[in-house]
Protein backbone atom coordinates (compact mmCIF):
# COMPACT_ATOMS: atom_id res chain seq x y z
CA UNK A 1 0.00 0.00 0.00
CA UNK A 2 2.68 2.39 1.15
CA UNK A 3 4.62 1.76 -2.04
CA UNK A 4 1.72 2.80 -4.22
CA UNK A 5 1.20 6.04 -2.27
CA UNK A 6 4.88 6.90 -2.53
CA UNK A 7 4.82 6.27 -6.24
CA UNK A 8 1.80 8.49 -6.59
CA UNK A 9 3.39 11.32 -4.61
CA UNK A 10 6.45 11.06 -6.78
CA UNK A 11 4.29 11.31 -9.86
CA UNK A 12 2.48 14.33 -8.46
CA UNK A 13 5.74 16.03 -7.58
CA UNK A 14 7.05 15.30 -11.00
CA UNK A 15 3.91 16.78 -12.50
CA UNK A 16 4.33 19.97 -10.47
CA UNK A 17 8.03 20.30 -11.19
CA UNK A 18 9.00 23.27 -13.28
CA UNK A 19 10.40 21.93 -16.50
CA UNK A 20 11.60 25.19 -17.91
CA UNK A 21 14.99 25.36 -16.37
CA UNK A 22 16.60 27.34 -19.14
CA UNK A 23 15.51 30.53 -20.77
CA UNK A 24 15.00 30.31 -24.47
CA UNK A 25 15.95 32.93 -27.03
CA UNK A 26 13.46 33.42 -29.83
CA UNK A 27 13.75 35.58 -32.91
CA UNK A 28 10.34 36.79 -34.01
CA UNK A 29 10.39 38.53 -37.34
CA UNK A 30 11.45 40.58 -39.22
CA UNK A 31 9.29 38.54 -41.55
CA UNK A 32 6.53 37.08 -39.44
CA UNK A 33 2.81 37.21 -40.23
CA UNK A 34 2.16 39.25 -37.10
CA UNK A 35 4.98 41.73 -37.63
CA UNK A 36 3.31 43.37 -40.60
CA UNK A 37 5.63 46.04 -41.85
CA UNK A 38 8.74 44.17 -40.74
CA UNK A 39 9.99 44.60 -37.22
CA UNK A 40 12.03 42.14 -35.21
CA UNK A 41 11.52 41.05 -31.64
CA UNK A 42 14.37 39.36 -29.83
CA UNK A 43 12.56 37.48 -27.13
CA UNK A 44 13.92 35.83 -24.03
CA UNK A 45 11.30 33.34 -23.00
CA UNK A 46 10.80 31.77 -19.62
CA UNK A 47 8.48 28.97 -20.60
CA UNK A 48 5.67 30.71 -22.37
CA UNK A 49 6.29 34.01 -20.63
CA UNK A 50 8.30 36.91 -21.95
CA UNK A 51 11.23 37.44 -19.60
CA UNK A 52 12.77 40.13 -21.77
CA UNK A 53 12.28 41.59 -25.18
CA UNK A 54 14.27 43.82 -27.47
CA UNK A 55 12.46 45.53 -30.32
CA UNK A 56 14.54 46.13 -33.44
CA UNK A 57 13.23 48.58 -36.00
CA UNK A 58 14.72 49.91 -39.21
CA UNK A 59 13.97 47.13 -41.69
CA UNK A 60 11.89 49.45 -43.83
CA UNK A 61 14.23 52.45 -43.78
CA UNK A 62 14.21 53.97 -47.25
CA UNK A 63 15.98 57.26 -46.61
CA UNK A 64 12.84 59.41 -46.66
CA UNK A 65 14.61 62.49 -45.30
CA UNK A 66 17.60 62.14 -47.61
CA UNK A 67 15.29 61.81 -50.63
CA UNK A 68 13.33 64.90 -49.58
CA UNK A 69 16.55 66.88 -49.41
CA UNK A 70 17.32 66.19 -53.04
CA UNK A 71 14.11 67.14 -54.85
CA UNK A 72 11.79 70.10 -54.85
CA UNK A 73 9.30 70.78 -52.08
CA UNK A 74 6.57 69.37 -54.28
CA UNK A 75 8.46 66.17 -54.93
CA UNK A 76 8.42 65.38 -51.23
CA UNK A 77 4.62 65.08 -51.10
CA UNK A 78 4.40 61.64 -52.78
CA UNK A 79 7.06 60.38 -50.38
CA UNK A 80 4.88 61.39 -47.45
CA UNK A 81 2.14 59.15 -48.89
CA UNK A 82 4.43 56.23 -48.28
CA UNK A 83 5.05 56.93 -44.62
CA UNK A 84 1.83 55.58 -43.19
CA UNK A 85 0.29 53.83 -46.16
CA UNK A 86 -2.90 53.15 -44.22
CA UNK A 87 -3.69 56.85 -44.02
CA UNK A 88 -1.67 58.60 -46.68
CA UNK A 89 -3.68 61.81 -46.77
CA UNK A 90 -2.87 62.59 -43.15
CA UNK A 91 0.86 62.69 -43.87
CA UNK A 92 0.19 64.83 -46.97
CA UNK A 93 -1.72 67.29 -44.81
CA UNK A 94 0.96 67.40 -42.12
CA UNK A 95 3.75 68.08 -44.55
CA UNK A 96 1.85 70.70 -46.56
CA UNK A 97 0.79 72.54 -43.40
CA UNK A 98 4.43 72.76 -42.30
CA UNK A 99 5.59 74.14 -45.64
CA UNK A 100 2.62 76.50 -45.83
CA UNK A 101 3.60 77.82 -42.42
CA UNK A 102 7.01 78.74 -43.84
CA UNK A 103 5.39 80.25 -46.92
CA UNK A 104 2.85 82.13 -44.83
CA UNK A 105 -0.09 80.74 -46.78
CA UNK A 106 -3.68 80.63 -45.65
CA UNK A 107 -5.70 78.21 -47.78
CA UNK A 108 -9.28 78.99 -48.91
CA UNK A 109 -12.12 77.71 -46.80
CA UNK A 110 -13.27 75.06 -49.31
CA UNK A 111 -9.78 73.65 -49.43
CA UNK A 112 -9.68 73.40 -45.64
CA UNK A 113 -12.99 71.54 -45.45
CA UNK A 114 -11.85 69.22 -48.19
CA UNK A 115 -8.62 68.51 -46.39
CA UNK A 116 -10.52 67.68 -43.22
CA UNK A 117 -12.89 65.43 -45.18
CA UNK A 118 -10.01 63.54 -46.80
CA UNK A 119 -8.18 63.31 -43.46
CA UNK A 120 -11.14 61.78 -41.70
CA UNK A 121 -11.78 59.25 -44.46
CA UNK A 122 -8.12 58.34 -44.15
CA UNK A 123 -8.39 57.97 -40.39
CA UNK A 124 -11.42 55.68 -40.75
CA UNK A 125 -9.46 53.47 -43.16
CA UNK A 126 -6.55 53.34 -40.74
CA UNK A 127 -8.65 52.42 -37.70
CA UNK A 128 -10.63 49.83 -39.68
CA UNK A 129 -7.39 48.19 -40.74
CA UNK A 130 -6.06 48.21 -37.21
CA UNK A 131 -9.16 46.70 -35.61
CA UNK A 132 -9.77 44.26 -38.46
CA UNK A 133 -6.19 43.03 -38.61
CA UNK A 134 -6.09 42.64 -34.83
CA UNK A 135 -9.08 40.29 -35.05
CA UNK A 136 -7.44 38.37 -37.85
CA UNK A 137 -4.32 37.85 -35.83
CA UNK A 138 -6.42 36.64 -32.92
CA UNK A 139 -7.83 34.05 -35.34
CA UNK A 140 -11.14 35.78 -35.99
CA UNK A 141 -11.58 35.89 -39.75
CA UNK A 142 -15.18 37.15 -39.89
CA UNK A 143 -14.77 40.55 -38.20
CA UNK A 144 -11.63 41.09 -40.27
CA UNK A 145 -13.73 40.70 -43.40
CA UNK A 146 -16.33 43.14 -42.08
CA UNK A 147 -13.56 45.65 -41.43
CA UNK A 148 -11.94 45.13 -44.79
CA UNK A 149 -15.25 45.42 -46.62
CA UNK A 150 -15.83 48.75 -44.91
CA UNK A 151 -12.31 49.82 -45.82
CA UNK A 152 -12.85 48.87 -49.46
CA UNK A 153 -15.93 51.09 -49.52
CA UNK A 154 -13.94 53.82 -47.84
CA UNK A 155 -11.22 53.48 -50.46
CA UNK A 156 -13.88 53.77 -53.18
CA UNK A 157 -14.78 57.12 -51.66
CA UNK A 158 -11.17 58.19 -51.41
CA UNK A 159 -10.70 57.20 -55.03
CA UNK A 160 -13.62 59.36 -56.06
CA UNK A 161 -12.32 62.29 -54.05
CA UNK A 162 -8.56 61.99 -54.47
CA UNK A 163 -8.12 59.91 -57.62
CA UNK A 164 -6.33 57.04 -55.94
CA UNK A 165 -7.19 54.47 -53.35
CA UNK A 166 -4.11 54.15 -51.20
CA UNK A 167 -1.25 56.53 -51.93
CA UNK A 168 -3.42 59.41 -53.00
CA UNK A 169 -0.97 62.34 -53.24
CA UNK A 170 -4.03 64.54 -52.84
CA UNK A 171 -2.86 67.60 -50.93
CA UNK A 172 -0.94 70.36 -52.69
CA UNK A 173 0.93 73.32 -51.28
CA UNK A 174 -1.80 75.93 -51.00
CA UNK A 175 -4.61 73.67 -52.16
CA UNK A 176 -5.80 70.20 -53.03
CA UNK A 177 -5.54 68.29 -56.29
CA UNK A 178 -9.14 68.98 -57.29
CA UNK A 179 -12.49 69.85 -55.82
CA UNK A 180 -15.18 67.51 -54.58
CA UNK A 181 -16.91 65.84 -57.56
CA UNK A 182 -20.60 66.57 -57.94
CA UNK A 183 -21.56 62.94 -57.59
CA UNK A 184 -19.61 62.59 -54.36
CA UNK A 185 -22.16 63.58 -51.67
CA UNK A 186 -24.78 61.02 -52.79
CA UNK A 187 -22.23 58.21 -52.93
CA UNK A 188 -20.75 59.36 -49.63
CA UNK A 189 -24.08 59.10 -47.80
CA UNK A 190 -24.72 55.68 -49.24
CA UNK A 191 -21.32 54.41 -48.15
CA UNK A 192 -21.50 55.96 -44.70
CA UNK A 193 -24.77 54.09 -44.12
CA UNK A 194 -23.17 50.86 -45.34
CA UNK A 195 -20.10 51.47 -43.17
CA UNK A 196 -22.25 51.96 -40.10
CA UNK A 197 -24.09 48.71 -40.79
CA UNK A 198 -20.79 46.88 -41.19
CA UNK A 199 -19.44 48.46 -38.03
CA UNK A 200 -22.54 47.42 -36.10
CA UNK A 201 -21.99 43.85 -37.30
CA UNK A 202 -18.30 44.10 -36.43
CA UNK A 203 -19.01 45.31 -32.93
CA UNK A 204 -21.69 42.68 -32.43
CA UNK A 205 -19.19 39.93 -33.20
CA UNK A 206 -16.24 41.38 -31.34
CA UNK A 207 -16.92 43.84 -28.54
CA UNK A 208 -18.52 41.42 -26.07
CA UNK A 209 -17.00 38.26 -27.46
CA UNK A 210 -15.69 36.23 -24.53
CA UNK A 211 -12.50 35.13 -26.30
CA UNK A 212 -11.74 38.58 -27.65
CA UNK A 213 -12.35 40.26 -24.28
CA UNK A 214 -10.20 37.70 -22.47
CA UNK A 215 -7.34 38.20 -24.88
CA UNK A 216 -7.48 42.00 -24.69
CA UNK A 217 -8.53 42.94 -21.18
CA UNK A 218 -5.59 43.52 -18.89
CA UNK A 219 -2.98 42.87 -21.56
CA UNK A 220 -0.51 45.45 -22.84
CA UNK A 221 -1.25 47.89 -20.03
CA UNK A 222 0.50 51.25 -20.09
CA UNK A 223 -0.01 53.95 -17.48
CA UNK A 224 -0.61 57.63 -18.09
CA UNK A 225 2.81 58.52 -16.65
CA UNK A 226 4.63 56.02 -18.85
CA UNK A 227 2.82 57.39 -21.89
CA UNK A 228 4.01 60.90 -21.12
CA UNK A 229 7.56 59.77 -20.37
CA UNK A 230 7.71 57.98 -23.70
CA UNK A 231 5.89 60.76 -25.59
CA UNK A 232 3.17 58.30 -26.60
CA UNK A 233 0.30 60.02 -28.39
CA UNK A 234 -2.90 59.22 -30.23
CA UNK A 235 -5.37 56.47 -29.33
CA UNK A 236 -2.73 54.83 -27.15
CA UNK A 237 -2.40 57.89 -24.93
CA UNK A 238 -6.15 58.45 -24.90
CA UNK A 239 -6.74 54.84 -23.86
CA UNK A 240 -4.63 55.61 -20.78
CA UNK A 241 -7.06 58.37 -19.87
CA UNK A 242 -5.40 61.50 -21.25
CA UNK A 243 -7.86 63.39 -23.45
CA UNK A 244 -5.14 64.81 -25.71
CA UNK A 245 -6.26 65.20 -29.29
CA UNK A 246 -4.48 67.84 -31.37
CA UNK A 247 -7.68 68.36 -33.35
CA UNK A 248 -9.14 69.76 -30.14
CA UNK A 249 -6.07 71.07 -28.34
CA UNK A 250 -4.29 72.77 -31.23
CA UNK A 251 -7.05 73.01 -33.81
CA UNK A 252 -5.69 73.26 -37.34
CA UNK A 253 -7.67 73.63 -40.58
CA UNK A 254 -11.36 73.87 -39.60
CA UNK A 255 -11.37 71.38 -36.74
CA UNK A 256 -12.52 74.13 -34.39
CA UNK A 257 -15.74 74.36 -36.40
CA UNK A 258 -16.71 70.71 -36.35
CA UNK A 259 -18.54 68.92 -33.62
CA UNK A 260 -16.98 65.71 -32.33
CA UNK A 261 -16.07 63.96 -29.10
CA UNK A 262 -12.74 62.59 -27.94
CA UNK A 263 -13.16 59.10 -26.45
CA UNK A 264 -10.79 58.11 -23.67
CA UNK A 265 -10.06 54.85 -21.88
CA UNK A 266 -9.54 54.09 -18.22
CA UNK A 267 -6.80 51.55 -17.71
CA UNK A 268 -4.76 51.77 -20.90
CA UNK A 269 -4.99 48.10 -21.89
CA UNK A 270 -5.59 46.64 -25.32
CA UNK A 271 -9.34 46.49 -24.78
CA UNK A 272 -9.46 50.21 -24.04
CA UNK A 273 -7.44 50.88 -27.16
CA UNK A 274 -9.90 48.80 -29.16
CA UNK A 275 -12.88 50.70 -27.73
CA UNK A 276 -11.20 54.08 -28.34
CA UNK A 277 -10.43 53.18 -31.96
CA UNK A 278 -13.94 51.97 -32.72
CA UNK A 279 -15.46 55.09 -31.19
CA UNK A 280 -13.04 57.23 -33.19
CA UNK A 281 -14.33 55.64 -36.39
CA UNK A 282 -17.83 56.79 -35.44
CA UNK A 283 -16.57 60.27 -34.60
CA UNK A 284 -14.61 60.51 -37.86
CA UNK A 285 -17.70 59.56 -39.85
CA UNK A 286 -19.53 62.29 -37.97
CA UNK A 287 -16.86 64.85 -38.89
CA UNK A 288 -16.85 63.70 -42.52
CA UNK A 289 -20.63 64.14 -42.71
CA UNK A 290 -20.29 67.70 -41.44
CA UNK A 291 -17.58 68.38 -44.02
CA UNK A 292 -19.71 67.15 -46.91
CA UNK A 293 -22.69 69.19 -45.70
CA UNK A 294 -20.51 72.26 -45.37
CA UNK A 295 -18.95 71.78 -48.81
CA UNK A 296 -22.39 71.43 -50.36
CA UNK A 297 -23.47 74.60 -48.62
CA UNK A 298 -20.39 76.48 -49.83
CA UNK A 299 -20.99 75.41 -53.41
CA UNK A 300 -18.50 76.05 -56.18
CA UNK A 301 -15.61 78.39 -55.59
CA UNK A 302 -11.85 78.62 -55.27
CA UNK A 303 -10.02 75.70 -53.68
CA UNK A 304 -6.44 76.84 -54.30
CA UNK A 305 -4.70 79.94 -53.00
CA UNK A 306 -3.90 82.55 -55.58
CA UNK A 307 -0.15 82.56 -55.18
CA UNK A 308 2.10 82.14 -58.21
CA UNK A 309 4.83 80.67 -56.01
CA UNK A 310 2.92 77.46 -55.40
CA UNK A 311 -0.08 77.23 -57.74
CA UNK A 312 -0.17 77.54 -61.49
CA UNK A 313 -1.84 80.57 -62.96
CA UNK A 314 -5.06 79.97 -64.92
CA UNK A 315 -4.39 78.41 -68.31
CA UNK A 316 -6.15 81.27 -70.15
CA UNK A 317 -3.61 83.65 -68.61
CA UNK A 318 -0.65 81.38 -69.24
CA UNK A 319 -1.36 81.26 -72.96
CA UNK A 320 -2.02 84.97 -73.34
CA UNK A 321 0.27 86.83 -70.95
CA UNK A 322 4.04 86.86 -70.63
CA UNK A 323 4.23 87.13 -66.83
CA UNK A 324 2.02 84.15 -66.20
CA UNK A 325 3.82 82.08 -68.80
CA UNK A 326 7.11 82.73 -67.00
CA UNK A 327 5.51 81.90 -63.66
CA UNK A 328 4.17 78.61 -64.88
CA UNK A 329 7.54 77.74 -66.42
CA UNK A 330 9.34 78.49 -63.16
CA UNK A 331 6.83 76.61 -61.02
CA UNK A 332 7.11 73.54 -63.22
CA UNK A 333 10.85 73.45 -63.81
CA UNK A 334 12.16 74.69 -60.51
CA UNK A 335 9.35 74.42 -57.98
CA UNK A 336 8.45 76.92 -55.30
CA UNK A 337 11.16 78.79 -53.44
CA UNK A 338 10.35 78.65 -49.74
CA UNK A 339 11.49 81.53 -47.51
CA UNK A 340 14.39 80.84 -45.19
CA UNK A 341 13.42 79.60 -41.77
CA UNK A 342 12.23 76.67 -39.72
CA UNK A 343 8.76 75.50 -38.78
CA UNK A 344 7.20 72.63 -36.88
CA UNK A 345 3.61 71.58 -37.26
CA UNK A 346 1.90 68.67 -35.63
CA UNK A 347 -1.36 67.07 -36.67
CA UNK A 348 -3.41 64.33 -35.09
CA UNK A 349 -2.80 61.37 -37.34
CA UNK A 350 -4.46 57.99 -36.83
CA UNK A 351 -1.55 56.93 -34.64
CA UNK A 352 -0.93 60.15 -32.78
CA UNK A 353 1.09 63.29 -33.18
CA UNK A 354 2.49 63.38 -36.70
CA UNK A 355 4.93 66.25 -36.79
CA UNK A 356 6.95 67.79 -39.57
CA UNK A 357 9.97 69.94 -38.80
CA UNK A 358 11.06 71.67 -42.00
CA UNK A 359 14.05 73.91 -42.54
CA UNK A 360 14.52 75.99 -45.66
CA UNK A 361 17.59 77.90 -46.77
CA UNK A 362 15.49 79.98 -49.15
CA UNK A 363 16.02 77.75 -52.17
CA UNK A 364 13.66 75.45 -54.05
CA UNK A 365 15.14 72.38 -52.38
CA UNK A 366 14.35 71.55 -48.74
CA UNK A 367 17.32 71.78 -46.41
CA UNK A 368 15.75 69.46 -43.91
CA UNK A 369 12.47 67.57 -43.67
CA UNK A 370 12.00 65.74 -40.43
CA UNK A 371 9.00 63.52 -39.89
CA UNK A 372 8.16 62.95 -36.25
CA UNK A 373 6.75 59.44 -36.52
CA UNK A 374 4.08 58.50 -33.98
CA UNK A 375 4.65 54.82 -34.77
CA UNK A 376 8.26 54.89 -33.62
CA UNK A 377 7.51 56.66 -30.35
CA UNK A 378 4.44 54.54 -29.63
CA UNK A 379 6.42 51.35 -30.19
CA UNK A 380 9.27 52.37 -27.89
CA UNK A 381 7.55 51.54 -24.55
CA UNK A 382 6.39 48.14 -25.83
CA UNK A 383 8.96 46.06 -23.86
CA UNK A 384 7.47 47.38 -20.61
CA UNK A 385 3.98 46.53 -21.80
CA UNK A 386 4.66 42.86 -22.54
CA UNK A 387 7.44 41.92 -20.12
CA UNK A 388 6.20 39.14 -17.88
CA UNK A 389 3.18 38.47 -20.06
CA UNK A 390 2.48 35.43 -22.19
CA UNK A 391 4.05 35.31 -25.63
CA UNK A 392 0.55 35.26 -27.15
CA UNK A 393 -0.27 38.64 -25.54
CA UNK A 394 2.43 40.26 -27.62
CA UNK A 395 0.23 39.89 -30.71
CA UNK A 396 -2.76 42.04 -29.67
CA UNK A 397 -0.44 44.54 -27.96
CA UNK A 398 1.57 45.00 -31.12
CA UNK A 399 -1.63 45.19 -33.18
CA UNK A 400 -3.13 47.98 -31.14
CA UNK A 401 0.11 49.95 -31.01
CA UNK A 402 -0.41 49.85 -34.77
CA UNK A 403 3.20 50.34 -35.72
CA UNK A 404 3.40 51.06 -39.44
CA UNK A 405 6.81 50.20 -40.81
CA UNK A 406 6.85 52.89 -43.48
CA UNK A 407 6.31 55.61 -40.93
CA UNK A 408 8.34 54.08 -38.13
CA UNK A 409 11.47 53.50 -40.22
CA UNK A 410 10.93 56.19 -42.90
Amino acid sequence: MAGITDGRRELEEDFERDLHVERQLLNMGPSHPATHGTVKFMLELDGENIADIEVQVGYLHRGFEKECESGSWYQAIPYTDRLNYNSAVLANVGFCLAVEKLLGLETPIRCQWQRVLASELSRVADHLTRCGAACLELQAMTPFLYGIEARELNWDLQEQLCGARVTSNYIRLGGVKHGMPESFPARFREIVTQTRTLLADFEKVVTRNRIFVDRLKGTGVISREECLRYAVTGPMLRSAGVPLDLRKDEPYLVYDQVDFDVPIGEVGDNYDRYLVCVEEIHQSLRIAEQCVAQLEKLGAGPIDVVDPRVRWPAKSHVFNRMEELIQQFKTVTEGPRVPEGEAYTAIESANGELGFYVVSDGSAVPWKVRCRPPSLLNLQPMPGMVRGAMLADLIPTFDFINMIGGECDR
Binding site: E65, L228, G355, R372
Partner: protein, 162 residues
Amino acid sequence: MDDQHSPALRRLVELLPAAVVETHARLGDATARVDPARIVDVAKLLRDDPGLEFEMLTDLTAVDYLGEEPRFEVVYHFYSVARNQRVRIKARVPEAAAELPSLVALYASADWMEREVFDLYGVRFSGHPNLKRILLYEEFEGHPLRKDYAKTARQPLIGPRN
Protein backbone atom coordinates in the same frame (compact mmCIF):
# COMPACT_ATOMS: atom_id res chain seq x y z
CA MET B 1 7.24 88.29 -32.76
CA ASP B 2 9.66 88.42 -29.85
CA ASP B 3 10.01 85.96 -27.02
CA GLN B 4 7.83 88.11 -24.77
CA HIS B 5 4.89 86.40 -26.41
CA SER B 6 5.81 83.01 -25.10
CA PRO B 7 5.46 82.62 -21.33
CA ALA B 8 7.57 79.46 -21.46
CA LEU B 9 10.51 81.23 -23.09
CA ARG B 10 10.23 84.12 -20.69
CA ARG B 11 10.36 81.81 -17.71
CA LEU B 12 13.26 79.82 -19.14
CA VAL B 13 15.32 82.97 -19.71
CA GLU B 14 14.39 84.24 -16.27
CA LEU B 15 15.46 81.07 -14.45
CA LEU B 16 18.47 79.99 -16.53
CA PRO B 17 19.81 83.16 -18.13
CA ALA B 18 23.35 81.80 -18.45
CA ALA B 19 22.29 78.70 -20.42
CA VAL B 20 20.23 80.46 -23.07
CA VAL B 21 22.16 81.84 -26.04
CA GLU B 22 19.29 83.36 -28.00
CA THR B 23 15.53 83.11 -28.39
CA HIS B 24 12.98 83.79 -31.07
CA ALA B 25 9.32 83.03 -31.73
CA ARG B 26 9.20 83.32 -35.52
CA LEU B 27 6.07 81.85 -37.12
CA GLY B 28 4.70 81.32 -33.63
CA ASP B 29 7.22 78.63 -32.69
CA ALA B 30 8.83 79.54 -29.37
CA THR B 31 12.50 78.71 -29.81
CA ALA B 32 15.56 78.96 -27.61
CA ARG B 33 19.15 78.16 -28.51
CA VAL B 34 21.00 76.92 -25.47
CA ASP B 35 24.48 75.96 -24.44
CA PRO B 36 24.86 72.23 -25.30
CA ALA B 37 26.68 71.56 -22.04
CA ARG B 38 23.64 72.79 -20.09
CA ILE B 39 21.00 70.83 -22.05
CA VAL B 40 20.27 68.55 -19.08
CA ASP B 41 19.71 71.55 -16.79
CA VAL B 42 17.38 73.09 -19.35
CA ALA B 43 15.42 69.87 -19.84
CA LYS B 44 15.19 69.29 -16.10
CA LEU B 45 13.84 72.77 -15.59
CA LEU B 46 11.36 72.39 -18.42
CA ARG B 47 10.08 69.15 -16.94
CA ASP B 48 10.06 69.95 -13.23
CA ASP B 49 9.34 73.66 -12.94
CA PRO B 50 5.72 74.15 -11.83
CA GLY B 51 5.47 77.09 -14.19
CA LEU B 52 6.58 75.09 -17.24
CA GLU B 53 5.50 71.43 -16.89
CA PHE B 54 6.79 70.12 -20.19
CA GLU B 55 6.08 66.43 -19.55
CA MET B 56 6.81 65.27 -23.07
CA LEU B 57 9.86 65.36 -25.26
CA THR B 58 7.93 64.85 -28.46
CA ASP B 59 10.66 65.19 -31.01
CA LEU B 60 14.42 65.16 -31.22
CA THR B 61 16.37 65.56 -34.41
CA ALA B 62 19.43 67.26 -35.82
CA VAL B 63 20.23 69.52 -38.75
CA ASP B 64 23.54 69.61 -40.57
CA TYR B 65 24.51 73.19 -41.44
CA LEU B 66 27.53 72.20 -43.51
CA GLY B 67 29.91 75.12 -43.89
CA GLU B 68 28.77 76.86 -40.73
CA GLU B 69 30.49 76.59 -37.43
CA PRO B 70 29.41 74.86 -35.19
CA ARG B 71 28.15 72.47 -37.80
CA PHE B 72 25.38 70.44 -36.18
CA GLU B 73 22.27 71.67 -34.50
CA VAL B 74 20.34 69.25 -32.31
CA VAL B 75 16.69 70.23 -32.13
CA TYR B 76 14.35 69.23 -29.29
CA HIS B 77 10.60 69.79 -29.29
CA PHE B 78 8.93 69.75 -25.91
CA TYR B 79 5.21 69.65 -25.30
CA SER B 80 3.29 70.40 -22.15
CA VAL B 81 0.04 68.46 -21.97
CA ALA B 82 -0.99 70.33 -18.82
CA ARG B 83 -0.54 73.75 -20.41
CA ASN B 84 -0.99 72.85 -24.06
CA GLN B 85 2.24 74.61 -24.95
CA ARG B 86 5.22 73.85 -27.10
CA VAL B 87 8.81 74.97 -27.00
CA ARG B 88 11.74 74.24 -29.29
CA ILE B 89 15.20 73.99 -27.78
CA LYS B 90 18.26 73.91 -30.00
CA ALA B 91 21.91 73.31 -29.26
CA ARG B 92 24.83 73.66 -31.63
CA VAL B 93 27.77 71.26 -31.55
CA PRO B 94 30.92 71.38 -33.68
CA GLU B 95 31.94 68.47 -35.90
CA ALA B 96 35.16 67.90 -33.96
CA ALA B 97 33.26 67.43 -30.70
CA ALA B 98 29.84 66.32 -31.88
CA GLU B 99 28.65 65.17 -28.49
CA LEU B 100 26.18 66.38 -25.94
CA PRO B 101 24.65 64.96 -22.78
CA SER B 102 21.84 62.44 -23.19
CA LEU B 103 18.34 63.16 -21.92
CA VAL B 104 17.31 59.51 -21.52
CA ALA B 105 17.37 59.73 -17.73
CA LEU B 106 14.85 62.59 -17.84
CA TYR B 107 12.73 61.65 -20.84
CA ALA B 108 12.47 57.99 -21.83
CA SER B 109 11.35 59.03 -25.31
CA ALA B 110 14.85 60.38 -25.99
CA ASP B 111 16.27 56.85 -26.13
CA TRP B 112 15.42 55.84 -29.69
CA MET B 113 15.47 59.37 -31.05
CA GLU B 114 19.01 59.98 -29.78
CA ARG B 115 20.04 56.67 -31.31
CA GLU B 116 18.52 57.82 -34.58
CA VAL B 117 20.43 61.12 -34.54
CA PHE B 118 23.61 59.20 -33.75
CA ASP B 119 22.86 56.75 -36.57
CA LEU B 120 22.07 59.31 -39.26
CA TYR B 121 24.22 62.28 -38.23
CA GLY B 122 26.99 60.82 -36.09
CA VAL B 123 26.25 63.10 -33.16
CA ARG B 124 26.99 61.26 -29.92
CA PHE B 125 25.06 61.47 -26.67
CA SER B 126 27.13 60.95 -23.55
CA GLY B 127 25.45 58.90 -20.86
CA HIS B 128 23.10 57.13 -23.26
CA PRO B 129 22.60 53.55 -22.02
CA ASN B 130 22.62 51.90 -25.45
CA LEU B 131 23.98 54.23 -28.11
CA LYS B 132 24.05 52.11 -31.26
CA ARG B 133 22.57 52.35 -34.73
CA ILE B 134 18.81 51.98 -34.90
CA LEU B 135 17.59 52.34 -38.49
CA LEU B 136 20.74 51.16 -40.27
CA TYR B 137 22.88 48.12 -39.71
CA GLU B 138 26.06 48.00 -37.68
CA GLU B 139 28.37 47.56 -40.69
CA PHE B 140 27.09 50.73 -42.37
CA GLU B 141 29.88 53.20 -43.04
CA GLY B 142 29.26 56.88 -42.44
CA HIS B 143 26.18 58.85 -41.47
CA PRO B 144 23.80 59.31 -44.39
CA LEU B 145 21.97 62.48 -43.38
CA ARG B 146 25.18 64.47 -43.26
CA LYS B 147 25.18 66.87 -46.18
CA ASP B 148 28.56 65.59 -47.37
CA TYR B 149 27.26 62.02 -47.64
CA ALA B 150 26.43 61.60 -51.34
CA LYS B 151 22.95 60.34 -52.09
CA THR B 152 24.42 57.92 -54.63
CA ALA B 153 27.00 56.49 -52.20
CA ARG B 154 27.05 52.71 -52.03
CA GLN B 155 27.74 50.57 -49.03
CA PRO B 156 29.77 47.34 -48.89
CA LEU B 157 27.66 44.20 -49.02
CA ILE B 158 27.57 42.20 -45.84
CA GLY B 159 26.95 38.51 -45.64
CA PRO B 160 24.36 36.83 -43.45
CA ARG B 161 24.87 37.43 -39.76
CA ASN B 162 24.58 34.76 -37.13
